[in-house]
């Protein structure tokens, strides 16, 4: 009993020296942080920033979005607002559906609606990811942008379509 207690004490004292060695070794190792305003880290893989639009495969200036409004309905805080130009004939076709199956209607439905604006108010976003999960075409993803500081509330209302286009322009240059 006594022997065990003394042995425990000795191992404990030894562990104190080991601890000092650990901090001493880390003291001389290089820093792992960056001096923020002067240095920045590149976008981090797996970082959940605000959502962004995925460019479509054939045209990097265009989004995969089909203006189905699923994300707008899904969003628990209603921070997404989407506007798209739906072809006139589609709405007209719906109105006239009772009348008769006119030959124009199927042709009009084939024409995809064009995304005109995709705005997300990041101040309300809780990063729940429901919009990303439920997008039928996979047009949404989390951006990996770490630096999200701003000076006003307006800085956090992101025009995602404009962002997509400026990124595509940047990439072309």
């Amino acid at each position: 009993m006594m022997v065990k207690k003394f042995r425990d004490t000795l191992t404990g004292l030894w562990s104190l020296l080991v601890g000092l060695k650990v901090t001493a070794v880390n003291f001389v190792r290089p820093e792992v942080t960056v001096h923020y305003p002067r240095q920045t880290v590149p976008s981090l893989e797996g970082y959940r920033g605000h959502i962004e639009l995925v460019p479509s495969q054939d045209d990097p200036f265009k989004s995969k979005c089909i203006v189905c409004m699923t994300c707008v309905r899904m969003c628990p805080t209603s921070c997404i607002s989407v506007a798209g130009s739906k072809p006139k004939k589609k709405t007209a076709g719906k109105d006239q559906a009772a009348d008769a199956d006119s030959g124009d209607t199927p042709k009009a439905q084939k024409a995809k609606p064009e995304l005109e604006s995709f705005v997300v108010d990041f101040t309300y976003c809780s990063l729940c990811g429901l919009c990303v999960q439920n997008c039928p075409t996979g047009a949404l993803r989390f951006s990996t942008d770490v630096y999200l500081a701003g000076f006003s509330r307006q800085d956090f209302v992101f025009d995602l379509l404009g962002r997509l286009q400026s990124q595509a322009e940047h990439k072309e240059q």
Partner: protein, 323 residues
């Protein structure tokens, strides 16, 4: 005119001014060292923005503290509340007066220098007690209660580990104790009395409320302990006092166990300062290495280990001296 003023008065006045400057300069250097070492151990740069490599950071911190409003919390005892930081810092000035920095660098050569330092550092407990009591804050009161039981416990092994040195030298004069040791490390009392050395150093950590014994101001449990309610220079003076007590403890360790100003090749105040700063670096290194002990552990270390060991060590020393 100058004849009318007694010479000791001039010596003490000039000495006190020098000591205040020394305490202030030390606090600046130590704050910077503390934060830089903490940064490097945690592999970040530490203070970096104010001045080159952040060297002016302590000055900026000090100016901020000086510029803050002096604020007394509602329900606090105003007189005691503002008296406490002053009682905390004042005894340190006296402690430095009797410390022999070099063979010719000592303000007062007192025959009871050791007792004087031990007595005056004990006053700090009173200051912390008053601060905790008068703040009208339960965290402050708990911090003060912890500090008192900690100080009462650790004074005993501290004194018991100083006694062997006193018996060997037969003197309480710090200058005599320092000069009775030789210049080489194996001639220092630390080599004769390793157990007393270790016990004294641990107790010095506990008495100055440094990690891993900083329970009176344990920030994760008691916000800031006894100085929870203090801001501005009220806090600043406690802070200054804590660093000053660290320096006093290191000076005393250097004198008692590491030969004081004696050193190989050329003895002098530079050896003393080098030893003191090595000890201070060790204290800072310990702070950023070990977690805080629990309160029962703190008292167990003292009553179950340090006091019996110190008593045994003292008895052994007495036996050797008697033979």
């Amino acid at each position: 005119m100058i004849d009318a003023i007694p010479a000791p008065f001039i010596v003490v006045s000039v000495g006190l001014a020098a000591v205040m400057a020394f305490i202030g300069a030390n606090a600046l250097v130590l704050v910077y060292l503390e934060r830089k070492i903490a940064g490097f151990i945690q592999r970040r740069p530490g203070p970096y923005e104010v001045g080159p490599q952040g060297i002016l950071q302590p000055v900026a911190d000090g100016l901020k503290l000086v510029g803050k409003q002096l604020f007394t919390p509602k329900g606090a005892d105003g007189v005691l509340y503002w008296l406490a930081p002053m009682i905390s810092i004042a005894p340190t000035l006296v402690c430095f007066l009797v410390i022999p920095f070099g063979p010719r660098l000592q303000i007062i050569n007192s025959n009871v220098g050791l007792i004087l330092i031990l007595a005056f550092t004990g006053v700090n407990v009173l200051a912390l007690c008053i601060a905790g009591w008068s703040s009208q804050n339960k965290y402050a009161l708990l911090g003060a209660a912890r500090d008192i039981s900690q100080s009462v416990a650790y004074e005993i092994p501290l004194l018991l580990s100083v006694l062997p040195i006193v018996f060997i030298t037969g003197s309480l004069n710090l200058f005599d104790i320092a000069s009775s040791q030789g210049p080489w490390p194996w001639q220092w009392y630390g080599a004769y009395q390793p157990v007393a050395f270790v016990i004294f150093f641990i107790c010095a950590l506990a008495e100055t409320n440094r990690n891993p014994f900083d329970l009176p101001e344990a920030e994760s449990e008691l916000t800031a302990g006894f100085h929870t309610e203090y801001s501005g220079m009220g806090f600043g003076m406690f802070f200054l006092a804590e660093y000053a007590y660290m320096v006093v403890a290191s000076c005393l360790t250097a004198i008692l166990f590491l030969g004081g100003f004696q050193g190989p090749v050329a003895s002098g105040w530079w050896w003393f300062l080098a030893k003191v700063y090595l000890l201070l670096l060790l204290i800072i290194w310990i702070r950023w290495t070990y977690p805080r002990v629990r309160f029962d552990q703190l008292l167990n270390i003292c009553w179950k280990w340090l006091i019996p060991l110190a008593v045994l060590n003292l008895l052994g020393t007495l036996l050797v001296i008697a033979l």
